[in-house]
């Protein structure tokens, strides 16, 4: 097969990956809404507060309670057993999607004979793969229930959808990118960004769950998005997971920026020149550093923590889309 054929195949697998992620999202959504475990998590929460009967703590991770799989729990016609099956279908679809997704990158690499992350489109595709892999590990370790994949899939599908707007044909590299540092600097940026994306998702869920507590304690009426909150895991579980993901991502981000600076010395003669991409990478670094400090500065800082994580992701997105598309930067390898 010619290199053109590889590139076309890469595009086909890209579309297939998006479709499969959408299928996975749908499966997880059914499980989220109708499975027994999810509603048990929700009910035990209510019980917990109303009757103060402990025993079915809302934070049972694996929810290993037996599944009575007859009789729909509601009038939707979907039984808990069917919901569980939908979740399994979601998992299979997600893993199939990840394989196809990885093939997209591999085929592109084959088509152009270089690392498959030389422009903005490829960067986004790769970081989404990191996010999915990280998520799979998180679920496999039992840190959160499978059904929460709904939200990760949503984020991934949205971002991959954005990637189609900056689609770039598979081409060889411009001379400035022709360096082994592309493997180091960009790969580190991809891994860190993928982790930050996962952390962003859990930070949002944490906030929703926390505000849900606040609303119910006040006896207020629940509105979207807090209506989804009863089926989320415990607040502390989400907080810890968010924290861990960021703790992992931050040193990798630091490394990516340092590697970028070393490369900048080789390619542009100076390690740091306050180019807009550098400025915003630095701002993201500061914001995430503030997030990591927030837990050390007492309860007040802790309250802000998820907001800081969300702000950090906003900065990352601005650096990716805003700087690449609307600001004049030396670091413009978006290819669009």
């Amino acid at each position: 097969m010619g290199t053109n054929g590889l590139a076309e195949l890469s595009n086909a697998t890209f579309v297939a990956a998006i479709v499969l992620y959408a299928v996975a999202m749908f499966g997880y959504a059914i499980e989220y809404a109708f499975s027994r475990r999810a509603s048990m998590a929700a009910e035990s929460e209510v019980e917990h507060r109303e009757l103060v009967t402990v025993g079915a703590g809302g934070d049972l991770p694996a929810d290993d309670a037996p599944e009575p799989d007859d009789a729909p729990a509601n009038n939707s016609g979907i039984t808990p057993a069917q919901a569980l099956a939908a979740g399994k279908v979601g998992l299979v679809a997600m893993i199939a999607a990840a394989v196809v997704h990885a093939a997209t990158l591999a085929l592109r690499a084959g088509a152009v004979g270089r690392w498959p992350w030389g422009n903005m489109f490829e960067f986004i595709v790769a970081l989404c793969l990191v996010c999915v892999v990280v998520w799979t590990v998180v679920v496999a370790r039992g840190l959160v229930a499978r059904r929460l994949g709904l939200f990760t899939m949503l984020a991934v599908v949205l971002l991959l959808g954005c990637a189609t707007r900056v689609y770039t044909q598979a081409t060889p590299l411009v001379p400035a990118l022709n360096s082994y540092w592309i493997a180091i600097h960009v790969l580190a940026a991809i891994i860190a960004t993928g982790l930050f994306l996962t952390g962003f998702v859990t930070a949002v869920l944490h906030l929703i769950r926390r505000n849900y507590h606040r609303v119910t304690e006040r006896g207020g009426t629940l509105r979207f998005p807090f209506t989804i909150a009863p089926r989320l895991p415990e607040e502390s579980r989400l907080e810890t997971l968010t924290w861990r993901l960021h703790v992992l991502a931050f040193p990798i981000w630091t490394f990516a920026v340092i590697a970028g600076a070393i490369w900048a010395r080789e390619a542009w003669s100076r390690y740091w020149g306050w180019d807009p991409k550098e400025v915003w990478a630095f701002i993201a670094w500061v914001v995430y550093a503030a997030y990591l400090h927030s837990r050390a500065t007492g309860a007040g800082g802790r309250r802000f923590a998820p907001w800081i994580a969300i702000l950090g992701w906003g900065v990352i997105l601005f650096n990716l889309f805003g700087v690449n598309l609307f600001v004049h930067s030396m670091h413009s390898y978006a290819g669009v």
Partner: protein, 520 residues
């Protein structure tokens, strides 16, 4: 107490309070955030150090706003006093915060782990241990788990064992923060003692240049760097190789140069490429870009020919370029040796590397010089070059045109292919007589670089334990019964499991056999 002491003391106490305020972690964090926010305008406004042209453009587009922005250092954000104020405050705050913490940490490293609290059941982690455990064995278990251990005999015949672990966290934390300071210092050092210059190097022997400030089109010299001690080297460009995809995307740039160090003539060849700088002692040479310099010959009304090599400035991406050629010494009467009044000549226009067969002719079909052409407009009069005012060499002085000092002269042929002549209205002639390549070079020396890199590596090395290691303490009390208590001094989700594991291991150590004690 004397009356003068009171105000003095209150001043010192205010200062002390401010100092404590400044050196608190919260202030350092706020300053760090300010630094990030302060960096934003510099990424959105054009900056002089990146592109002076864009600043001029901004002035032209926003004539009323630009001076105000300028007064707030909006075009020089990263060298502005207010930006410096933020990072100097941050620097001070960090120093004030770190020095006492370093002292505390060293003290903690040398101190024995503190004694067990009297009521261990109040600790967050607590469990009973079997009675009759041997202190030495228990301490061994803890040591094997890499705790620092202190054993104390109590007056009530009990033994307490204190153990502490995770000092690497604070060591890493301090290393991280001190390296941050070192990084700032190294950057400042590089800015003080470094220098850089930009230079267009036209191919050929006459394009050769030797390092000295006058030879640079633009340069920056650190305040502590003397212009006289630039390293003496010479450079010459032999030729420039470039290659493109059919789409016009470049795939290869190679500047084949020769260099000579210590004042020697440039003879040693080197293939200068992006990502592949030429490292000389005291300076590195980087390839930033390339372009074409048309050779333009002008024959004046006395038949005198003058030739100039005029580098043209390429548009981004394509090699269609714009530039100017000025002949201030044209039309000098050979008899009187004086210049005719107002008959200096200048040309301004575009260079098209591959002119298409059909208009628009400015749309080059390739970045390679497959069918090069010049499109020129001729001007005659006072070029303003003698006024001594600095002015871009890529265009004629527009002020001279608008004031009427320079007037357009019609030309027979507007587009010149290589080696073609065109006649001006006054009978003089111009020729596109040749084409040279040039490379845009940056020559830079930053003596702070190595220290910056070392600091960055230390930042990373400090960061890992600072984030991943947890501090925790456990205590064992062995008396009539045994107890184990634990305290995680930092957020630590896995401490429960570790505590249980330790508990099992300690409980499994051999106990003293009561009869054996009796027989001894």
């Amino acid at each position: 107490m004397s009356t003068t002491a009171t105000p003095r003391r209150s001043v010192t106490s205010i200062l002390r309070r401010w100092w404590r305020q400044l050196t608190s972690m919260r202030t350092a964090l706020v300053l760090l955030l300010f630094l990030a926010i302060g960096a934003i305008p510099g990424s959105l406004l054009p900056q002089r150090n990146l592109s002076a042209d864009k600043v001029s453009q901004y002035y032209a587009d926003n004539p009323s706003l630009a001076p105000i922005v300028d007064r707030l250092w909006g075009f020089d954000v990263y060298s502005s006093p207010w930006f410096a104020a933020i990072y100097l405050l941050l620097f001070t705050s960090l120093v004030g915060c770190l020095v006492p913490r370093l002292r505390d940490h060293i003290r903690a490293l040398r101190r024995q782990p503190p004694d067990a609290p009297s009521r261990m059941s109040l600790l967050p982690m607590h469990r009973e241990l079997p009675s009759g455990l041997e202190a030495k064995k228990v301490a061994d278990v803890l040591r094997r788990n890499r705790f620092r251990v202190a054993v104390r005999e109590k007056p009530d015949d009990a033994t307490t064992i204190s153990a502490e672990k995770g000092f690497l966290r604070d060591s890493g934390n301090l290393l991280f923060h001190f390296s941050l300071l070192a990084l700032l210092a190294a950057m400042a050092f590089g800015a003080l003692y470094g220098w850089h210059g930009n230079r267009i190097l036209v191919a050929g022997e006459d394009g050769e240049f030797c390092d000295s400030l006058q030879q640079y089109d633009e340069y920056g010299l650190g305040p502590n760097k003397d212009a006289t001690d630039l390293p003496p080297f010479c450079l010459r460009l032999d030729h420039f190789t470039d290659d493109y995809l059919p789409s016009g995307q470049p795939t290869k740039y190679i500047a084949s140069v020769r260099y000579g160090t210590d004042g020697a003539a440039p003879t040693t060849p080197y293939d200068l490429q992006v990502n592949h700088p030429l490292e000389l002692s005291g300076a590195s040479v980087f390839l930033l870009g390339h372009g074409y310099a048309p050779v333009i010959t002008y024959q004046d009304r006395y038949g005198d020919k003058q030739t100039t090599v005029a580098p043209f400035l390429p548009d981004e991406g394509t090699q269609t370029s714009s530039g100017a050629a000025v002949f201030p010494d044209a039309n000098i009467n050979p008899k009187t040796h004086t210049a005719d009044k107002d008959s200096e000549i200048a040309f301004q226009g575009m260079f098209i590397p591959a002119v298409p067969d059909q208009p628009p002719y400015t749309q080059s079909t390739s970045p390679l010089p497959k069918n090069p052409a010049l499109m020129l407009t001729a001007y005659k009069g006072d070029t303003g070059l003698d006024s001594g005012q600095p002015h871009s060499v890529y265009s004629i002085d527009q002020k001279q045109v608008s004031s009427g000092a320079l007037k357009v002269v019609d030309m027979k042929k507007k587009m010149l292919k290589l080696h073609q002549w065109s006649t001006l209205d006054d009978g003089t002639k111009v020729k596109f007589s040749g084409l040279r390549e040039y490379a845009t070079l940056e020559i830079r020396d930053d003596p702070g670089e190595t220290f910056v890199l070392a600091s960055a590596v230390l930042i990373l090395l400090g960061l890992l334990p600072a984030l991943l290691v947890r501090r925790r303490r456990v205590w064992v009390r062995l008396g009539d019964t045994g107890e184990l208590g634990g305290l995680a001094r930092t957020e630590y989700d896995g401490f429960g499991e570790e505590f249980d594991r330790l508990g099992e291991a300690i409980a499994a150590t051999p106990t003293r056999e009561p009869d054996k004690i009796g027989s001894d």
